[in-house]
């Protein structure tokens, strides 16, 4: 059994034009920087990207948007990205906006073999258009489908050779959920260790969900909103 890949280029080699890809991260926090760079270099096109945000103009998924590699973006929040807005308004980019909790739970559902979930988010709004509304205990819910994605690309703090992953702080966000949801899951980690070096009680994503793993390089970890206090 070998899940270890040399680098991002090798790990994403078979991602094809038209693929549907889940990408972990919240804003620029916990995004798979190495894989995004490799996807840009590879020049794969017509992608459907599912990610909470769309990056900023010159970082994260924004890099793929600049190269017009993305056909459709499925996100919950897409502000702070001028090129994104331009493509959206010009009709070059298809966009589906869905509530953040729905996005997260549709990933989890896929990873848990649950075909669809009921959520109250979006009832009575345009998000509900065309969806089944059902009442349980007097409250209304929408039926939302589990994602069905070709690839999931996630970023973890530490990983081991069996594919077990541990995330750091709020860089966890969507990563463990998307890791469970891809038909093929690719994990890039800041530190790749031997099996047995991670405490089995503290694994966030068990290796069964991870098909490929590699140690990433040169993480920039850009901060989107630097807020500090003096003392």
């Amino acid at each position: 059994m070998n899940k270890i890949y040399k680098d991002a280029t090798q790990a994403i080699e078979d991602i094809h034009d038209g693929a549907t890809i889940l990408l972990g991260g919240f804003g620029l926090c916990g995004i798979p920087e190495n894989c995004i760079t490799a996807l840009v270099s590879k020049g794969v096109n017509n992608l459907t990207c599912i990610s909470n945000n769309a990056g900023v103009d010159d970082f994260g998924i924004g890099l793929m948007l600049q190269k017009k590699q993305v056909k459709k973006m499925i996100s919950s929040y897409v502000g702070e990205n001028a090129e994104f807005e331009r493509q959206l308004l010009s009709g070059e980019l298809e966009v589906e906006l869905i509530p953040q909790g729905t996005l997260a739970t549709r990933c989890m559902a896929a990873g848990y073999g649950i075909p669809a979930i009921y959520t109250p988010a979006g009832v009575g709004t345009e998000v509900a258009h065309g969806k089944e509304v059902r009442s349980f205990d007097g409250k209304e819910y929408l039926l939302e489908m589990a994602f069905n994605a070709d690839f999931a690309i996630v970023k973890a703090w530490k990983g081991d050779t069996m594919g077990n992953l541990i995330y750091k702080e709020t860089a966890r966000n969507f990563n463990p959920l998307m890791a469970m949801a891809g038909k093929i899951t690719i994990a890039e980690v800041e530190e790749l260790v031997e099996a047995g070096e991670l405490d089995p009680n503290q694994i966030h994503t068990p290796g069964i969900y991870v098909n490929r793993i590699f140690e990433g390089k040169n993480y920039e970890k850009r901060i989107e909103q630097l807020t500090v206090r003096d003392s």
């Binding site: 919240f26 804003g27 620029l28 926090c29 916990g30 909470n52 996100s75 919950s76 929040y77 897409v78 502000g79 807005e85 959206l88 966009v95 906006l97 509530p99 953040q100 909790g101 729905t102 996005l103 997260a104 739970t105 990933c107 989890m108 959520t119 109250p120 988010a121 979006g122 009832v123 009575g124 709004t125 345009e126 998000v127 703090w157 995330y167 750091k168 702080e169 709020t170 860089a171 966890r172 966000n173 969507f174 990563n175 463990p176 959920l177 966030h204 970890k221 850009r222 901060i223 989107e224 909103q225 630097l226 807020t227 500090v228 206090r229 003096d230 003392s231």
Partner: protein
């Protein structure tokens, strides 16, 4: 005098109770954290996966892996915990968050809220707002009573795409504290020096005024 944004936050902070788990939206709601009454412990939830949000980091100690839902660098407090986004919205949907404070572009007299989209002008997305308003037991809106043109933002019906329906419980605006009842907006308190008449004139939705309306004190 209408309240400034700090006073709005300060007034909302009086809704806090000891032991409350609280989710504060971006903008004025974030400021509420600065006015937690003495002797009260509240725990801030950030929907990107943190309970126990602390203040901004000291300069130079910022950590790119530790941000809030507004993407600002933050810190943790003793007793904090991290979790993934599914659990984060899980606890929100399950009603474990005691108070949610968020901004609004419009609120209607039956408690509908619009705050995520202006067709043709602004499409940033709803983020976690739709989950929050659909789930929270206790939603307080922090907003200006009128838009820059002086038009009321408290309406009979929202004109913008909705974020959620019949969910807002209370509004703290620059002019008043208003409860959303089954019968419409109900005036509870007025800003210092702001008359009931002014509030009536700037509230387009049905406004119930009963008895003496007290002035807020700061």
């Amino acid at each position: 005098m209408a309240l400034d944004k700090y006073q709005i936050a300060q007034r909302i902070a009086r809704e806090l109770k000891d032991g409350y788990y609280v989710n504060l939206g971006i903008g004025i709601p974030t400021l509420v954290a600065n006015y937690v009454p003495q002797g009260i412990d509240v725990i801030l939830q950030s929907e990107n996966g943190l309970l126990g949000m602390g203040p901004f980091p000291i300069k130079g100690e910022e950590d790119a892996d530790l941000i809030n839902a507004g993407k600002q660098t933050i810190t943790t407090l003793p007793g904090s915990s991290f979790f993934d986004s599914a659990m984060s919205f899980g606890m929100i949907r399950a009603g474990k968050v005691d108070l949610t404070v968020l901004g609004a572009m419009e609120v209607s007299e039956n408690g509908d809220i619009a705050n995520w989209k202006i067709p043709g002008k602004m499409v940033k997305g709803m983020g976690g707002a739709m989950d929050l308003v659909a789930s929270a037991k206790n939603i307080v809106v922090a907003m200006m009573h009128t838009n820059p043109k002086g038009e009321s933002k408290l309406l009979p019906n929202c004109t913008l795409p909705l974020t959620g329906v019949r969910c807002v419980k209370k509004i703290v605006s620059d002019l008043a504290v208003i409860e959303v009842t089954l019968d419409g907006f109900k005036l509870l308190e007025r800003a210092p020096g702001v008359s009931v008449e002014e509030i009536i004139s700037k509230t387009a939705g049905k406004l119930i005024v009963e008895g003496e309306i007290e002035e807020m004190k700061f």
